[in-house]
Amino acid sequence: MLRIALKGVLAHKVRLAMTALAIVLGVAFVSGTYVFTDSIQRSFDSLMSDVNEGVDLYVRGTTEFGFGGVRIDEALVDRVRDLPEVAVAAPSVEGIAQLVDEQGEPIGGNGPPTFGFSYVPEGEGLTPLVIREGDWPRSPTEVVVDAFAADAGSIEVGDVIEVILPIGTEVFTISGIATFGDAENLLGATLAVFEFETAQRAFDAAGSVDTIAVVVFPGADPALVAAQIADFLPDRAEVVTGEQQTDDDVGEFTEGLSFINTILLVIGGVAVFVGAFLIQNTFRIIVAQRIRELALLRAIGATRGQVTRMVVLEALAVGLVASAVGVGAGILIALGLKAAFAGFGFGIPTTGIVLLPRTIVVGMTVGIVVTIAAALVPARRAARTPPIAALRDVAAPPRSLGTRIAAGTAVTGMGFSLVLLGLFVQFGNAVAVVGIGALVTFTGVSILAPLVAAAFARSAGAPLRRMGIVGRLAQENAIRRPRRTAATASALMIGVALVSVIAVFQGSAKASVAAAFREDNRSDFQVQLGSFGDPASSGLSPALTADLRELEVVGSVARGRLGEYRSGPDGGLKFMLGVDGPIGEQVVFEMADGSLGDLGPGTAVISAAEARAFDVGLGDFVRVQVSSGAYMELTVVGVFEAAPIGASLVIDLATYEQYNSFRLDQFAYVQVADGFAAEEVRPAIEEVVAGYPNAKLTNTEELIADTEDQIDTILNLLVVLLGFALVIALLGIVNTLALSIAERRREIGLVRAVGMERRQVRRMIRWEAVLIAVFGGVLGLVVGVVLGSALVLAIGQGFTLAIPWVQLIVYLVLAALGGVLAAWIPARRGARMKILDAIAYE
């Protein structure tokens, strides 16, 4: 059987090559994802491995979750240093420092962090920083930057540059350029190192430090020293080993990376899933074409099991080869992913390419399992071939219409129910439930698709008839094998459905954001980060607000700072906002009770949902945990229905700063003073904002446009990545057309003989492809709009459904063009077919 199976593979090599390509691409995406993220991880790990080398202990503020935490008292440094067995106690202050180049453009950032560190002479050698040129900062006006930033900003020792700090933008002289160990590039992060006191001032950390690196004398037991330190540490401070600190640093990064990894793997999974449709279709066609051969095997005594095994073995052979190639191609995909991310402004520099055994194992397993699983149905069908088919033309009995309707409806219903359950009930891992539900829905629709394929081609293809016989033949050919057409279209459906879901989400998000801003916003101007930024590692300098408030033309400025908190009742992490200034006048909070104006130290305004969860009302206490692990006890002075800013707890900034060391603002809203016209005073405000190169001033309409752009940027990256699944689906169309044309050799020969020109043949094949593609596109749009609408409705929270019809129609047109593209080679081959070969009668 193995020999027959291998011969079967070889006999259909072109056909199987197309299928194999689908597997190669799917596996390549999956393994490419691993290579991509592993490579990033590896370069990060190698950077971090020697970071804390030589340091025995760290004293630091506690951080339970999120960002910010608290700093520790500077007085602790001396107490640690005074311990008899401590050789070195080097304090460090950290913060965010955005470097600015000569043209006034921010260097780096836009995704990767912009670190700021402090330098103390006794800490030399305890950090991985090495001076490559110049010297450490020795005065309040000096700064050391990393080699990557120096290259990016064309900075040399002795240059004078601006640095945006929490306290404002200041000017420093470059005293040196540092590298991070041997690495020139810390994954795109930039670095600014200041003299210790300067750093304390710059990061708004007077009298406190972030960590103390401790080295004990040779022979001393670090554990004992740790115990001594722990004895006098206050609450919210802890002592950990050097390894622990490294693990925490790596762990945080790994968490962020695993998020990217998951998203990419999901897209890879979609690609594989689409590939499975292709594989199934190809094997079904191959089985149909070999019906006589299979019947003969049955007639001479092969059992059903043997026939099934033979087809499965073929699948195994194909899956094995294709997966191996796919894993190799994954390296190219990893490079492509890097380019795609860079193209969308998320530059991720990596050093070297990492191919872990895990990547190979996962890639091979996924490829082989999916190939075999997809071939299983055709294999079973092959086994049902009656031996008599060897002698007569009888097809294996097709599944009955009733069974198909029942199965398709049941599967679709089940899938959609799962989606709804995941979205609205949110049990278990809701995202996974929704994802699996979507896949099941796709499968269900693909079972139903053959039932409507003919009707679709007849109605949608009606205009083709007006094109005369060429269009008519294209239409008939598309209908002729409804199941093949449907399977091919289904592969495309999946990709189109997913991009449609994104489009619906995108359209709704943009419409909701625009509506919310227009309705709720009372500010004249808004200042926000000019580029994409992680709220935990970038933000606006608080000095900006102070500067703005000094302007005569400015009436009021309200600013907000993001933080995370753990909500008591359900333990989930939520966003809180520390606000300063008359936020309630700038942004309309729909209040259910109380007022934002009453916000002051020790009080909170909370969302109605939180009020329900805590079961509290005005005047009651709520107790929530902040990043450092400490608890805030707050008196509720107001309850709002919907938060235009997305936070569910609002406190005043003083309270925020008491509990959180994060010192950068998320936004500042500006109302001009009475008697001034907003657009007239804009230049004055613009001038202040210009002093903060990472800040961007907008009016409400510009803010809406910017926000829409941001939504587009992120979602378009997803669409581009999903393009991969679409490419595989188009390969499916190529494959199906190639097979159909091979089957129709005689007909093409005949029409050529009676006078059809080559270009007419090409047109005929192209239109057939377009019909299949548009069928897939329409199915995809329908499924996508339904799923997308469910998603938007489930989100709720002022999210209104807006279906971007124009965009969806563009997708449909693109699908049709994809069909034309897919038909390119088959159409040429069809047109070049030798007429005589086709009509020869044997």
Partner: protein
């Protein structure tokens, strides 16, 4: 025969397939002409080059050397596209089998060449042809719903409907039972007699050839005599004498 009046002819035609060891000479310096308005038959043993001759005359294949003409158009001068247009306008075909597009009904199959040209068929002529081929009640049937004889009659109707200068038929009754075969040949005869259609038919069946005005014999790619308006017995005798 008057070469000027030929609907199709070959001069000194040779056709060689393959090369070296596998070289086969299908036509070997053959010169033959087929008159307008007549029903000609080509006979000869299997492999004697009958189909090859037909294909080269009909613009489906090129000669290796020599010339093929439809009317006074030399086919060797035409580009692939011009040949296609020539087949569409001036030539009709009836093959032994697989003559029809399974997805089109009989009416659509009949008008296929006209439709490919983007034209509408001449209605009177179409009805005349349909009636001649006795297909009036079968027009909306697909090929799979037609008998073999009906299918071949649809093919013949298709060949006639574009009023080609010449129709080539390669064993059109070869796959039919004798009754259907006789019927088809009768209709073809009628097309020649009533409409002045020129038909060249390849056959190996003496009874089929007996419907023709003239029978040309081939052997090993060369002419091997001919008979005018023979009976099937005369043909049989001639074949026997060829050995």
């Amino acid at each position: 025969m008057n070469v000027e009046n030929a609907a199709a002819r070959v001069e000194n035609a040779s056709k060689v397939y393959g090369a070296g060891d596998t070289e086969v000479t299908a036509l070997d310096g053959l010169t033959v002409a087929f008159e307008r308005g007549r029903f000609s038959a080509i006979m000869g043993p299997s492999g004697s080059g009958k189909s090859t001759l037909l294909h080269c005359l009909a613009g489906l294949d090129y000669l290796t050397s020599g010339d093929a003409f439809i009317g006074d158009i030399r086919l060797g001068d035409l580009s692939e596209r011009e040949l296609t247009l020539l087949r569409r306008k001036k030539v009709g075909f009836v093959f032994q089998a697989f003559n029809l597009i399974p997805t089109l009904d009989a009416a659509e199959n009949i008008t296929l060449p006209v439709a490919i040209a983007g034209e509408t068929p001449d209605k009177d002529w179409y009805e005349t042809v349909v009636e001649t081929m006795r297909l009036g009640d079968r027009l909306d049937h697909r090929p799979s719903e037609l008998s073999g004889g009906q299918q071949q009659r649809v093919a013949a109707a298709r060949a006639l409907v574009s009023r080609p200068e010449i129709i080539f038929a390669d064993e059109p009754s070869g796959n039919l039972d004798s009754k259907s075969g006789e019927e088809l040949l009768g209709f073809m005869r009628k097309a020649v007699d009533e409409f002045g259609q020129t038909i060249v038919m390849v056959t190996h069946d003496p009874r089929a050839a007996a419907w023709a005005d003239r029978v040309v014999f081939l052997a090993d790619g060369r002419g091997d005599g001919e008979l005018a308006s023979p009976t099937s017995d005369q043909i049989l005798e001639f074949l026997k004498s060829m050995g």
